[in-house]
Symmetry: C2
Subunit: 252 residues, 2 copies
């Protein structure tokens, strides 16, 4: 059976405009690695009905899992839940369990109409518990609808892990060196050919006037990654370069 795949739909004008830096893709990416789910792509889209409908429907057909973030709060621009219902062609209904969750979270008298809107959930969806701020997300078939605030999204993601069928954990290792890409590209290509089961990525960095490269190894067999890493470190030494300990890793 091929490894399960996933896509993240980051819904929010504020990410797209560059105003807010997304912090959810990195978290979901690392969790997918650990769960053995291949995160194939992410799309950052606007809080706009046509875009949400088109991307939800395209991605849920293409990938094993779709994780959406953002747009499930109480304000006028929070249209994700209603729009996902439209994408699936199902009704949006006030969900009694969601009302109960909100009722437990809010102080008496604070659960107004706007906040109750967060209990409007597509028919047939399974709720995703929100241990931080009450308002639940939901799962509709293979689409998981999560909030945009990173701390809340993370807590809720952990609550759906047992609904996801994964594969072998995707392991990574990083070699940080001052050898430049162009100086090792040929030898690195030879090593990549020797280890077709290890994906080797080369990422130049440029910090404080210093140039270097992070070589990132990804695969599912620890011994193969260790061997590829050994071959890379030998190559770096042969080129007269330096391997930095992880503690000296330049911040990116």
């Amino acid at each position: 059976m091929p490894a399960p795949t996933a896509c993240v739909l980051i819904i929010g004008n504020e990410i797209l405009s560059g105003r807010t830096q997304d912090a959810n893709l990195g978290y979901i990416g690392r969790r997918c690695d650990a769960l053995g789910i291949r995160l194939m792509e992410a799309r950052v889209i606007a809080d706009a009905e046509p875009a949400i409908i088109a991307h939800v429907n395209e991605c849920r057909a293409l990938f094993t899992y779709v994780f959406t973030t953002g747009g499930i709060g109480p304000t006028h621009d929070d249209i994700t839940s209603a729009t996902v219902a439209k994408a699936f062609g199902v009704a949006l209904c006030r969900n009694a369990d969601a009302v109960a969750a909100l009722d437990r979270y809010y102080e008496p008298g604070m659960l107004n109409d706007a906040r109750l809107r967060m209990a409007d959930i597509p028919a047939g969806a399974r709720l995703i518990d929100n241990p931080v701020s009450g308002a639940p997300g939901f799962q509709l078939q293979n689409v998981f609808v999560l909030p945009g605030v990173p701390l809340i999204m993370q807590a809720m993601f952990e609550g759906i892990v047992d609904r996801l069928a994964g594969g072998p954990e995707i392991l990574t290792a990083t070699v940080i060196t001052d050898v430049l890409e162009g100086a090792m590209a040929r030898e690195l290509g030879v090593i990549q050919d020797q280890f077709p089961d290890v994906s080797i990525g080369s990422y130049p960095w440029f910090r404080h006037g210093t140039l270097g490269v992070n070589l990132v190894l990804r695969g599912t067999v620890a011994d193969r990654i260790a061997r590829a890493r050994g071959a890379i470190e030998k190559m770096v030494a042969g080129l007269g370069g330096k391997v930095f300990p992880a503690a000296e890793r330049p911040s990116q």
Copy 2:
């Protein structure tokens, strides 16, 4: 004429895996605002030929401009240039002007075969000058191929600005308040209805145990944004809330 649109294709396994935080979308988003180009979406995709071909071809048909970042260096995983050539069905050729640019950048004897690969450019493309590290990007019709290293990408983006036809600048203003979303959602919706030409986004934040909301106004007419901002500040005061000066803006 409708405003020109754009899409960013962020090409790179390292972004998708969560290892590296993308820093290019924010820059391009802010520059598109200033240029009056509507950034409609961004897609983060793997360094994989089928994905690059599919997304380049889909997006260049959908949007006025497509900006790609990443994958144009000298190593085996840098496949963007060759793959964009395939997407357009044109040959990849060693470009004499690109060779000359590399030759000017590298010390004598350092321009090896791997680095020369960076001069392989799709036939018919127009080069994008790289004032930082020599290796050019290129423009093929409405697709602009840029590098992934942010400082270099930014310098090269500034070099293509005069090739882009924009519209009225998209202006923004932000009101930062401690009134929570659910407490003002109804009133905020009324203000949004009063200002259909100003897009009002509501973004909760949660920092150091404090909750609040950033309200972001976007539009092209300064006076309308100022009036909408005034209405929001009056609403906040009416609800007994506080508007924070921009200097106290919580980091996100």
